[in-house]
């Protein structure tokens, strides 16, 4: 659902569900249970990323799309946001869904930028850092509890909207065995750049304003002394006090 590719080589690397996205999926499945939503899962990545989608189907998602093509390779968060936005529109036959959920961030890039980027491309309100969500399907509105730096905020607003979900949200459910069996057989539609009608100048490396120009090991702060613990709590306490009291 939320890959943030850089120029990583992903071929042959096993795909896992981004842990944050599992919480987003759980929110979606809870809405399916309570409000009868149809849950569509989308991920972007190499062919083996379909395993992630099968996992989501096993847990109860209704449809799955894999956005995959070499043309998407090397995408930064802007190009990824664009491609995923196009795929969302494609999955909805040109219509925007009522709710688009993302995990707060991916655990590879950690940027937390793709969800907000998609909200811009789809021109939808953005609610970030959601830990609790209630949707009133009748009035087409939501109430969300978000966690900001200075504490929680409860906001209300109209749907459709884009949200990013925290790990403080309800924990992901397990897939029932029957779900796993049918998911293994389910058809996963693969969307390439043509299928989503992507402007070639906006995807992949070409569509990425940011370029990684160098990678290097982190600078060492320079470790200090290393001592073996021999039970000398008094020295350790003195060291700790000295650091605090200066």
């Amino acid at each position: 659902m939320n890959p943030e590719t850089n120029t990583l080589v992903r071929e042959g690397v096993e795909s896992i569900v981004n842990p944050f996205d599992e919480y987003a999926l759980e929110q979606a499945l809870a809405l399916k249970d309570s409000a009868g939503a149809r849950v569509t899962v989308i991920t972007m990545g190499p062919p083996q990323a379909s395993a992630v989608l099968r996992d989501a189907l096993a847990r109860g998602a209704d449809r799955a799309f894999l956005v995959s093509s070499r043309a998407f390779g090397g995408a930064d968060t802007l190009a990824t946001s664009y491609a995923i936005s196009q795929a969302i529109l494609k999955a909805g036959d040109g219509e925007r869904p009522d709710l688009v959920l993302f995990g707060k961030q991916a655990i590879d890039g950690d940027t937390a930028q793709v969800g907000p980027g998609v909200s811009e491309f789809l021109d939808l309100p953005l609610v970030a850092y959601v830990k609790d969500l209630n949707v009133d399907a009748a009035s087409g509105s939501f109430r969300a509890t978000t966690v900001m730096d200075d504490g929680e905020r409860v906001v209300e607003g109209p749907l459709p909207a884009v949200m990013t979900v925290l790990k403080d949200a309800p924990a992901p459910r397990f897939a029932p065995l029957a779900g796993a069996m049918s998911a293994a057989r389910a058809r996963i539609e693969v969307l390439d750049e043509k299928a989503i009608g992507a402007d070639p100048s906006k995807i992949g490396l070409r569509g990425s304003p940011t370029k990684v120009v160098s990678i290097f090991p982190p600078p060492a702060r320079g470790g200090g002394r290393k001592i073996e613990w021999k039970g000398d709590a008094a020295s350790l306490a003195a060291m700790v006090r000295e650091a605090i009291d200066g």
Binding site: N6, L8, D76, T77, L78, S85, Q86, L89, K90, G94, D108, G109, D110, T111, Q113, P116, G117, S119, E120, F121, P125, L126, V127, A128, Y129, R143, D149, D150, G151, E152, R153, V154, V155, E156, L166, K167, D168, G197, P209, T210, K211, V212, V213, S214, F216, P217, P218, G222, G223, G224, K226, I227, E228, W229, A233, L236, A237, M239, A243, I244
Partner: protein
Amino acid sequence: MADASIQAGDAKCVGCGLGGSKDLWVFAEQNGGKIAEVAFELLGKGLELKSQRGGGCRLCAVLLGSGITSDMTAALSCAGADVVYAVDDPKLAEYEAAVYVDAVSKLILKHRPEVVLAGATAVGRAFFARVAARVRTGLTADCTALSIEEAKVKGAGAMQMLLHQTRPAFGGNIMATILTPNHRPQMATVRPKVFKRKPAAPGRAVVVKEVLDLVAPRMRLVKAGGNPDAVDIAAAEVLVSGGRGLKSAAAFGQLKELADLLGGEVSASRAAVDAGWVPQSRQVGQTGKSVAPKLYLCFGISGAIQHLEGIRGADRIIAVNNDPEAPIFGMADVGIVGDALEIIPALVSELKKGGS
């Protein structure tokens, strides 16, 4: 079916392109009239970047809100801003991403800064990603180093002044330097406490009051501020931190006792948060918070790069780990090779014995 004529974002997203001003902007986040500390840290860094940039670059602060006071603009001036763009509008009374995005994007398209920096706070992270998408430029999240250097860019005529944006990358033990060569502005977010605030000096910033035709807010704030576990570990003077090596939530109970004895707060590595032993609000590191305590005392944390980046600002690091090769020892001022579960209670009883 969808076809190629459907294009996400065409209604609003517009590119800026090269050839704007030389100015460097800092987003001055404020909440209830109080400007976030990270804005002052960024202005401090901005002064350095301005001198690297040269050539008539101005350091500008962008301040949004309803009821902006002269105290607020004066504080930005004293922190080094040459210009303060102030947008005072009732629509900006409460933070809503879409309205903030509209305001900052309109300012960017009007004045075309070369560089825009924002704090990687809960507010800054989300809405700046959206601003970058609207003005069709790159944004590098959570930079830990920034510099400006002149370079030749393919396809651009004149020499360009490029912002070198360095951050930990690829979820692994590596740093990446990232450029935005062909798009302006060059945008980056920086977490609180990564750069240090510079002392205030007399300032003479020009305050430019901007009147913008902003979109209307669509969300309503029902309640703010409720959180029983709201603790800002970034502001703590002493942090006692635990990781996977503590093996259980119970061990964090002991850590809490130790933190109380030292007048500090408990924090944790990602592994401990992922295990459910500690709430995420106490996570130190690239996906948690960057911290800058006088003492960072940690137990059973091996020291992944994301964690080490988060504690770079600590004055003193004392680390306990049973693996003598743990990367945390490469950064700790004092490393103690031993069993955290034995050392924590020993230190607690020693501190109790010694009184305070």
